[in-house]
């Protein structure tokens, strides 16, 4: 049997690591309730806030879309960012590092598995939201919409990979950092309102989080009339920025992983539990 190539190992690792995430979803059926119906109820709360203050019906659509995207943000924060730390605690991390594969492949596998599992949840929330609240959409361009969505995910999970390394470095504090980022990002990324309400400068700063521009662009492509007065940047510009963020975060993630691995090997942190 010939020796596998580096790329061969890379892609097999991605598939191998994605497998537990995908199969776990099937084996623990409680996600049908907890990961779809309950978040939909949370989204509905924001819908009713807008109804209580007599907002235009498009705002219901904004909220449903934002609610669906929270699934990805939470997945990145809790199932990507802190995952390597827990892999260390359980002893898997040292086996990953010792294998002739790269941690990027491991993280990519985790990301792909996470995206698959989360997309099911997000789709359920959107579908049910559209049906229950009878939201009308006018899709400007399906390819653009898909492009924005995919680029947003690439950039977002690139950010998640970067967080993985950083959180491994920061150890137990990672949990609190995940908590710290959760709500403020709901605010600054405009999950439940158009991000332009923050003002141009704040919205620009918030654009470093891929979901900010992703949501704004998707809203423009789904609710073009209402978003004409609430949009932040042109879809084309937002696509461009997302592309840059994707490349940037993936590159940074790779650098951070290498740095983290070398530092951990020097300080002996890779195999010490409870730090």
């Amino acid at each position: 049997m010939s020796k596998p190539t580096r790329w061969g190992i890379f892609w097999r690792t991605v598939m191998g690591r994605a497998y537990p995430r995908v199969i776990g979803m099937q084996r623990e059926r409680s996600w049908l309730f907890f990961d779809t119906l309950l978040p939909l109820l949370q989204v509905s709360a924001f819908v009713f806030i807008y109804r209580a203050i007599q907002a235009p019906p498009e705002f219901t659509g904004f909220v449903v879309l934002g609610g669906a995207m929270t699934a990805y943000w939470l997945n990145v924060l809790w199932s990507m960012a802190s995952q390597l730390y827990w892999e260390k605690e359980t002893g898997n991390l040292e086996l990953y590092i010792m294998a002739p594969t790269s941690l990027m492949a491991i993280l990519l596998g985790m990301a792909i598995g996470g995206i698959v599992a989360t997309t099911v949840r997000a789709l359920a929330v959107i579908t049910l939201g559209l049906l229950i609240f009878r939201i009308e959409v006018s899709i400007v361009s399906v390819p653009q919409l898909l492009g924005v969505f995919l680029l947003t995910l690439v950039a977002l999970y690139g950010l998640g990979m970067l967080f993985s390394s950083l959180f491994l470095l920061w150890g137990r504090q990672a949990w609190h950092l995940s908590n710290l980022f959760q709500e403020p990002v709901y605010l600054v990324s405009g999950f439940y309102f158009p991000v332009r309400a923050l003002g141009f400068v704040a919205a620009l700063g918030a654009s470093v989080i891929p979901i900010t521009l992703g949501l704004d662009a998707m809203r423009q492509l789904l609710f073009p009339t209402m978003m004409a007065q609430f949009r932040f940047l042109d879809v084309g510009i937002e696509l461009g920025v997302l592309a840059v963020l994707s490349i940037g975060f993936l590159w940074l993630a790779r650098r951070a992983l290498t740095y983290m691995e070398n530092l951990s090997r020097r300080e002996g942190r890779l195999t010490i539990r409870g730090q």
Binding site: L41, Q42, I49, A52, Q173, L180, L187
Partner: protein, 285 residues
């Protein structure tokens, strides 16, 4: 035997509260912890502020805004206490591998779970206070101390908090018999209750079937009682016919009912977990 049980319970509660504090306060940087304590609640409030600013006529002067702000502030207890208690099961089993030792030791598991929630309750109290101060000073919400019904505030706060703790035990039971998703249980349920209990809008706005569900939740009466104590008035019309005394009686009664139901359910979940060998299960995927 009763005395021994009481001693056991007290020991379990004390030890679990200490442990909960060790886990939660395990920050390398107290400065970051301070930031986290302030930023988290304020961010939640600002979402509402921006929603009102963008859409509502009158912005923050909208008559509903103070009610909504207070409801949103106290809702912090719901997420943190529910999560604090229910996640203790998940954390101890999945992450620390300790749950089996908790069960093997002569501890009162209910006292242990409640103890683990004590730190969350303290942290929630700090967050709520920060929110209220922010609301009064920055957003101009009228809440002069002379007009606050302190007696009603304290009673409602106490009954509601106890009720939340027992609901946390109920969710802990669900955690015991599920795998990965048990991590999200507290968060997800708190989010769902957000819709039904009138935290951020009057339940009058809900469709009738959901209004009925909302009226069946102790949380709805809790938030109504707190609003009346702090602002002199509740939100919406549906609960306006209830007197303050009636509200407090409902809260006290629901607290007792929740205690019975939650402990009963947790016992059932425990037996099921023992049958299926779930007490020391670790999934880690």
């Amino acid at each position: 035997m009763t005395r021994q049980r009481a001693v056991e319970s007290a020991r379990s509660l004390k030890m679990a509260a200490w442990l909960g504090w060790q886990i939660e306060s395990n920050w390398a940087s107290p400065f970051l912890f301070a930031i986290y304590s302030i930023v988290k609640p304020i961010a939640g409030a600002l979402i509402l502020v921006l929603m009102y600013t963008v859409i509502a006529q009158g912005g923050l002067q909208h008559p509903l805004f103070p009610q909504i702000f207070v409801g949103n502030a106290f809702y912090i207890y719901v997420a943190m206490v529910l999560m604090g208690v229910s996640q203790a099961v998940h954390e101890d089993r999945e992450h620390y591998g300790m749950l089996k030792y908790v069960y093997v030791a002569p501890l009162n598991i209910y006292a242990y779970l409640l103890g683990r929630g004590v730190t969350q309750a303290i942290m929630a109290t700090v967050a709520v206070l920060i929110m209220l101060i922010f609301g009064i000073i920055v957003l101009g919400i009228p809440m002069p101390p002379a007009t606050i019904d302190w007696g009603m505030l304290f009673a409602a706060w106490l009954f509601g908090l106890a009720g939340l703790a027992f609901q946390g035990i109920f969710l802990g039971g669900i955690s015991l018999i599920t795998a990965r998703h048990s991590f999200y249980i507290g968060d997800a349920v708190a989010g769902a209750l957000y819709l039904l209990c009138g935290a951020v809008f009057p339940i009058d706005v809900l469709p009738r079937p959901l209004q009925l569900l909302g009226q069946a939740l102790p949380l709805t009466y809790w938030l109504e009682a707190l609003r009346r104590a702090l602002l002199g008035d509740g939100a919406g019309q549906l609960l306006s016919s209830l007197s303050d005394r009636a509200l407090l009686l409902i809260l006290a009664g629901s607290m007792v009912l929740l205690a019975v139901l939650s402990i009963g359910f947790y016992r059932w979940a425990e037996n099921r977990a023992r049958e299926k060998g779930l007490i020391d299960m670790q999934t880690m995927y």
